[in-house]
């Protein structure tokens, strides 16, 4: 029997001190050229128009034990979001506001190159962009989530788990978080001896003021496309995610990618995000009504 010393290490994913070689998905040149050729002809490889997002399907209440939840399919990208609502201490300077925190994780089962372990910079950016889109829109009226000013408030945690990665996680996570928040029921807490105690069966809807919708656009050469799939994502020169609220005003945006945009391009993106966003907002609103 050979002495298998090595097996002691094999279940640990935390030993990754070696930089990952060739771990980012690699697009083959054939596909990359094809994408560019098609764009020159005014087409996309999956037949969509430049300003057309993939098919969106939203299901809410998929995790019944959580206070809110949703599962979104954006093309082949799939995200599940769970909302946990629980009492918490307020932030030091914000004693009159509840807490909203958004996280994201690309689960290792979502893509062959996804790895378990603490989130890398791209996942941290993803979480913070989704968080800002919702927070800056004022979607949740945090002032209505106070139990005792400066002492005890209600915290809403939106945790996004990406389970299948086919590009544009920004929008998929944003739609999933938004739909989940819309479906969230806030339990009722009463202070008893300075401690919040949950009163069963007295939930209410979350205090919602607007429905933020993010639209991510990518630039390949001089063409701008909405909701890039994974193949397109790997060819992008630059990308921008713009979040608009129900009034059509822009409340958050983030540019990413190794190259830049012209002023004209950015202006056009702003307009596109409002028009495309409005259509997606209707889809999200319908989910709240019908559950799907």
């Amino acid at each position: 029997m050979k002495y298998r010393k090595k097996l002691l290490l094999t279940n640990s994913f935390q030993t990754e001190k070696v930089p990952n070689l060739g771990n980012t998905p690699l697009i083959d040149e054939l596909k990359s050229n094809q994408i560019r050729d098609f764009l020159e002809q005014g087409k996309r490889i999956d037949g969509r128009a430049f300003d057309e997002p993939r098919s969106i399907s939203i299901e809410i209440g998929v995790i019944p034990k959580a206070e809110g939840s949703a599962r979104v399919r954006l093309g082949n990208t799939e995200v599940i979001t769970g909302i946990k609502v629980q009492p918490d201490r307020p932030f030091p300077d914000l004693g009159d506001k509840g807490i909203f925190i958004c996280t994201a994780e690309i689960l290792p089962l979502a893509h062959p190159t996804a790895e378990p372990g603490p989130p890398q910079e791209d996942v941290i950016e993803l979480a913070r962009v989704v968080d800002r889109g919702i927070r800056e829109s004022g979607m949740i009226d945090l002032s209505k989530l106070v139990l005792v000013k400066d002492k005890s408030v209600i915290g809403i945690f939106a945790d996004n788990s990406v389970i299948d990665h086919d590009g544009n996680l920004f929008d998929a996570c944003a739609y999933s978080s938004t739909a989940a928040i819309l479906s969230t029921k806030i339990p009722k807490w009463e202070m008893q001896d300075d401690v919040p105690v949950k009163i069963e069966d007295q939930e209410s809807d979350a205090p919602i003021t607007t429905i933020p919708v993010s639209v991510t656009m990518g630039r390949i050469g001089k063409h701008i496309i909405v909701d890039p799939n994974m193949d397109e994502w790997l060819c992008l020169d630059a990308r921008i995610t713009i979040t608009t609220n129900s009034d059509g005003n822009i409340c958050a945006l983030q540019k990413g990618g190794k190259d830049g945009f012209t002023l004209d391009q950015l202006t056009k993106c702003g307009e596109t995000s409002t028009s495309v966003g409005a259509k997606i907002r209707e889809i999200i609103k319908q989910t709240k009504e019908t559950g799907q």
């Binding site: 697009i27 083959d28 040149e29 054939l30």
Partner: protein
């Protein structure tokens, strides 16, 4: 082949306890011959095997495959060939006998992301499979669309004596290069022909185990698709 006994199996299923020869994807446990993968078991000529319905490509010498360059050292390229192992293409195979690691830059011939048609030159358990492109029909793929299917469906895509693939090529005027590893390159001057050919290939991938597939593919190709 039709007097073989066939049955759907999952891992752990006992196919038979008769004293037959265990072949691919089965193991012998005492008297029991047990399936190790999801697939169709076949008893034929006193031997037992399972034809898998899922799984990666298992390299065999001389197989024609399509691979994608993922990295290189100064002496060889590494290719993703849809197997558990990366394939190695030695620089000498492309540059020739007088290849010099100092003088010849690998990326001048093949770089990361390129697709290549190659043959398996050598494959044993102790080393990663060795590839070769030193034949006329082998080398870098300059154009075409890559379609990926399960390697277990490749025989079905080729068909008895090539009937299935010929049917598709003739109906669409497409040129289809089938890698035994399940990667397939389709080229066609006509966009509609290209889409139809890809649709036919995906149909075979999904319905390989259903009878009368050739007829149904023919029907689909003859209809004036979208």
């Amino acid at each position: 082949m039709d007097n073989a006994k066939r049955k759907y199996v999952i891992p752990g299923d006992v196919i038979t306890t008769a004293p037959f020869r265990p072949e691919q994807n089965v193991i012998l446990d005492g008297k029991k011959i047990i399936a190790t993968v999801v697939g169709t078991s076949e008893i034929y000529d006193d031997s037992v095997r399972v034809i898998p319905l899922a799984g990666k490509y298992s390299p065999k010498v001389n197989d024609l495959i399509i691979g994608k360059v993922v990295s290189h050292s100064s002496l060889s390229w590494e290719l993703d060939i849809n197997s558990c192992y990366v394939g190695f293409l030695p620089a000498q195979d492309v540059f020739g006998r007088d290849f010099s690691a100092h003088a010849d830059e690998l990326t001048s011939k093949l770089k990361k992301g390129d697709l290549v048609v190659a043959r398996i030159a050598n494959s044993d358990r102790s080393r990663d499979p060795l590839l070769t492109v030193s034949d006329r029909e082998l080398g870098k793929i300059e154009s075409g669309e890559l379609v990926k299917i399960s390697p277990s469906k490749v025989p079905r895509l080729i068909g008895k004596r090539g009937t299935m693939i010929q049917t598709i090529e003739m109906a669409t005027n497409a040129i289809i290069t089938i890698g035994q590893n399940g990667w397939i390159v389709v080229s066609c001057e006509n966009r509609n022909g290209l889409l139809k050919a890809i649709k036919a290939i995906r149909m075979v991938d999904k319905q390989a185990h259903i009878a009368n597939l050739t007829d149904r593919v023919k029907l689909m190709l003859e209809s004036s698709g979208e």
